[in-house]
């Protein structure tokens, strides 16, 4: 039981990665969030099936099931941030530019390749695509609250860590 119970969230996580990659490949690199959700859902089904099997064979242990559920969700959460880092991380993008110029680039040259204008435009496009902001009379406004909530959670964490926002 112990071995199966340890493997259960890891196997579900591996399955979620495989499904996520395959879904994203099928969409030719589009569907960032959808591919993640497809993988997460597939892994969750796998985890539920394994936990059910273990419970039927050895009797249910609610604490172990909860531990495995938390482990699976935390692994997927970390994976989502890893994917997001590749998608939006500024340091990652800067390193990609430097990788293409092993001889080195001056700061002006870097800014010609990647700059605040592009960063802002890409984020506005993403936020509009996800209906988080809307454009009315030439001004952007917050439309949905998900990103705003995320921002408030991080503000709260900053308050705890630094005593200020």
């Amino acid at each position: 039981m112990e071995t199966a119970s340890i493997i259960s969230p890891v196997a579900a996580f591996v399955l979620s990665i495989v499904v996520q990659i395959q879904t994203r490949r099928t969409s030719k690199g589009e569907y960032f969030t959808r591919s993640f959700l497809a993988g997460f859902g597939a892994g969750l089904i796998s985890l539920s099936a394994t936990e059910l099997g273990i419970a039927l064979k050895h009797g249910p242990d609610a604490f172990l099931i909860l531990a495995n559920l938390i482990t699976y969700v935390a692994l997927c959460y970390g994976y989502f941030h890893f994917l997001n880092l590749g998608e939006t991380g500024r340091r990652i993008r800067l390193l990609m530019e430097l990788r293409e110029h092993p001889e080195g680039i001056a700061e002006d040259g870097i800014l010609a390749l990647y700059n605040a204008k592009e960063i802002i435009e890409k984020r506005i496009a993403r936020l509009r695509r996800k209906d988080q902001i809307i454009l009315e009379n030439g001004r952007y406004f917050v439309a949905k609250s998900q990103v705003l909530y995320m921002s408030r959670i991080l503000d709260g964490l900053k308050l705890v860590l630094f005593g200020k926002r």
């Binding site: 690199g29 604490f63 482990t71 340091r91 993008r93 390193l95 700061e107 960063i119 705003l148």
Partner: protein, 166 residues
């Protein structure tokens, strides 16, 4: 129950120590500091876990491993979230500004977030973390930086994602 309690309890202990350490003075290399604090508190906590009065004991290697898996997934999930605090996410800054100001034009975003705010500090981070170095006034990738970025290049290729994000 021992697996759940030890995994959650020692994650919480790591978080509390992290808050105390950051309130005193955040380290220069914050990710490394977080890894040391979280995994250090887990190791120390595990040495004494079975001696805590009333705590359900861990007995087999498999139980210790299971507890570690729960702890590590939580700790790494937090540490990767922390990068959004450390490097002030532009998306969150934009949303916060929109909410505070009650709407903004595209031009106002540019005034709020310039190259000096969005790009230059990240270049300094690359130098600080040894991922890039300055060679005669030019930024160049280091072998450590190349190894690090190759993971993302490979992974984005695997997903057929556009070569460059940002």
């Amino acid at each position: 129950m021992a697996i759940l309690l030890s995994g959650l309890g020692l994650s919480l202990a790591g978080f509390v120590l992290h808050v105390i350490a950051w309130r005193i003075k955040p380290p220069l290399r914050q990710t490394r500091g977080l890894l040391i604090i979280f995994f250090g508190s887990y190791l120390i906590g595990m040495l004494f876990w079975n001696r805590i009065p009333g705590a359900p004991g861990l007995s087999s290697f498999a139980e210790y491993l299971h507890s570690f898996l729960l702890f590590a997934s939580l700790a790494l999930g937090y540490i990767i979230t922390y990068s959004a605090i450390e490097a002030e996410s532009p998306t969150l800054t934009m949303i916060r500004a929109l909410q505070t100001r009650g709407g903004m034009t595209p031009g106002e975003f540019s005034t709020l977030m310039s190259d000096e705010v969005l790009v230059s500090p990240r270049l300094k981070d690359l130098l600080r973390d040894g991922l890039a170095e300055l060679r005669e006034g030019r930024y160049a990738i280091t072998p450590k930086g190349a190894r690090f970025i190759n993971i993302f290049v490979f992974y984005r290729g695997l997903m057929s994602a556009p070569k460059k994000g940002g």
